[in-house]
């Protein structure tokens, strides 16, 4: 992945995650935990696109069954399998968004057009849009964001 980094001006999304501005040495990077980070991970097109890519991987690589697909996506982000309770939250979200995007096909198409890469056209748009919301949730978990 490439991005433009001006000498003393880090890319905005990286600044939000405490990238030093390189005007002076930074022996240790500051750690912040702000609402601006939430907005970036939820809405920055880069991360919306990443969520779609994760959803596509779940659907293509995750086996035939919904649970194994969810487990695959969750494990790619957190390096562990989801618990039964966690699986319940993910499945409820998926079910609700699947129903909504089926009735709102145009919204699904615009949502899937975010980002540089084209969507995987083999996959049903409403289905992929619903999975992308689930993938976005997984990518926004504290456990995903925080190195332990």
């Amino acid at each position: 992945m490439y991005t433009l980094w001006k000498r003393t001006v880090p890319p905005a999304s990286l600044s939000t995650f405490d990238a030093p501005d390189r005007e002076k040495c930074a022996a240790r990077r500051a750690h912040t935990n702000t609402p601006l980070q939430a907005l970036t991970l939820l809405n920055d097109p880069t991360f919306v696109e990443a969520a779609r890519a994760l959803a596509q991987r779940a659907l293509v690589e995750g086996g035939r069954d919904e649970k194994s697909r969810l487990a695959h996506a969750f494990r790619l982000a957190t390096a562990r399998k989801p618990s039964g309770k966690e699986m319940g939250v993910l499945r409820a979200l998926l079910k609700g968004r699947r129903n909504w995007f089926r009735k709102n096909q145009a919204a699904a198409m615009t949502f899937l057009s975010v980002g540089e890469s084209p969507r995987d056209a083999r996959l049903d748009a409403a289905e992929l849009a619903a999975w992308t919301t689930v993938a976005s949730v997984i990518l926004n978990l504290d456990e995903t964001i925080t190195k332990q």
């Binding site: 939000t16 702000t34 809405n43 949502f111």
Partner: protein
Amino acid sequence: MNPLDLHLTRRQLFGLSARGIGIAALASLVGDDLAAAAAGRAQARDAQTGALAGLPHFAPKATRVIFLHQSGGPSQLETFDYKPLLAKYQGTQIPDSVRMGQRVAQTMGQSSLPVARSLFGFSRHGRSGTWVGDLLPHTAKIVDDLTVIKTMHTDAINHDPAITFIQTGFQQPGRPSMGAWFSYGLGSENQNLPAFVVLLSQAHAINADQPLFSRLWGSGFLPSAFQGVRFRGGSSPVLFLDDPPGISKVTRRVMLDAVKALNAMTAEAYGDPEIETRIAQYEMAYRMQTSVPELMDLSKEPESIFEMYGPESRKPGTYAANCLLARRLAERNVRFIQLYHRGWDQHQDLPRDLALQCRGTDQPTAALVTDLKQRGLLDDTLVVWGGEFGRTVFSQGKLTDVNYGRDHHPRNFCMWVAGGGTKRGAVIGETDDFSYNVVSDPVSVHDLQATILHLLGIDHTKLTYRFQGRDFRLTDVHGDVVKTILA
């Protein structure tokens, strides 16, 4: 013992404690909130504002602070500390009886230390007759609303420790900033915006190289929910406020509900309050999607307001635009509004660069005070103006009739406060004829901090936080409320 156990991560530690192991031991290692969270009990807080139980300690005069930090160390000699006798000493070596062998920052190897008078005039203003340098014509018009402190002094002689000291009460990094303490103690009057907002603007001076670090508005050992939130300088102060296309409000809400539910399970498993902060920040982000566009919508500001704050007020990210934004944040009851303006470090070419700095900031600063006053907000908003130290009376580099520089000077410098229960049209303290030593009424950095806390209804000796086995406070073990500042 498994050697790996020596490398417990933060989460593993919390995981152990959540299973009931060693809460008491944990409490001695980490702060109250951390231990409380690990033990599954939260500190008692006001349900609406989130203020700690028992706070404020007494009726506050001010409910919010706007801190206009002038980073780099503005010269007191050209702004508020008028020294007419210096004309007589111009170009002569500073007397040893004045300097008393005190350390200097950058002029260590300089063979002579010639006295440099202010190249700019001074005159008296207002009913108070306060002396103000001619570089600050707009500030001069509001002196009757200010208390000018001529005898601020600090322990630090270089920028980083000095600015860290004035923001956190300690020269080394790691303590919570003033805004974090207020946010921690008093909570927020506006649940839709952060309690502590930080706005940065770039120098007007040509020579300007002092950086600012995010730890200056950090929360130190306090939970990170209390750290300052820095708004960006450009036309979008907060990025990515809009949901992606195709995401309805309901979709966004159910996604956030899922994030919250899953994070809550992790929090339950590990008891790490950082996860609670994460949950709170996602909810704040959701509310900011509505509150920030409303905050930034300047379309209803009349032309007269932009004229008042000056031409740069229409240019996002400038000091003038930040002053106007500070007023809008104050109107929305944001607790601590921290501005930083860079560029006050005039080691050389002071006449040129200090004039540029003053021209860029004088009008908007005065406009902010006037604007708050005309809206009735100055009564309960404390405005603080000043840098981290002052500058030497002797010239750094070659002194000529038209040019000179000044080195760092921690022994005395000027700040001013306005509103929020402070005196209107007062001057505190006196310095010697060289503006080199305090003669009467010294005000230390901790004294100023104690006074700011007092104005917000806090006894500075009682707002403490237990960390690494002792109770910490903003003023460390120092500080006296400066009674002469109080109205």
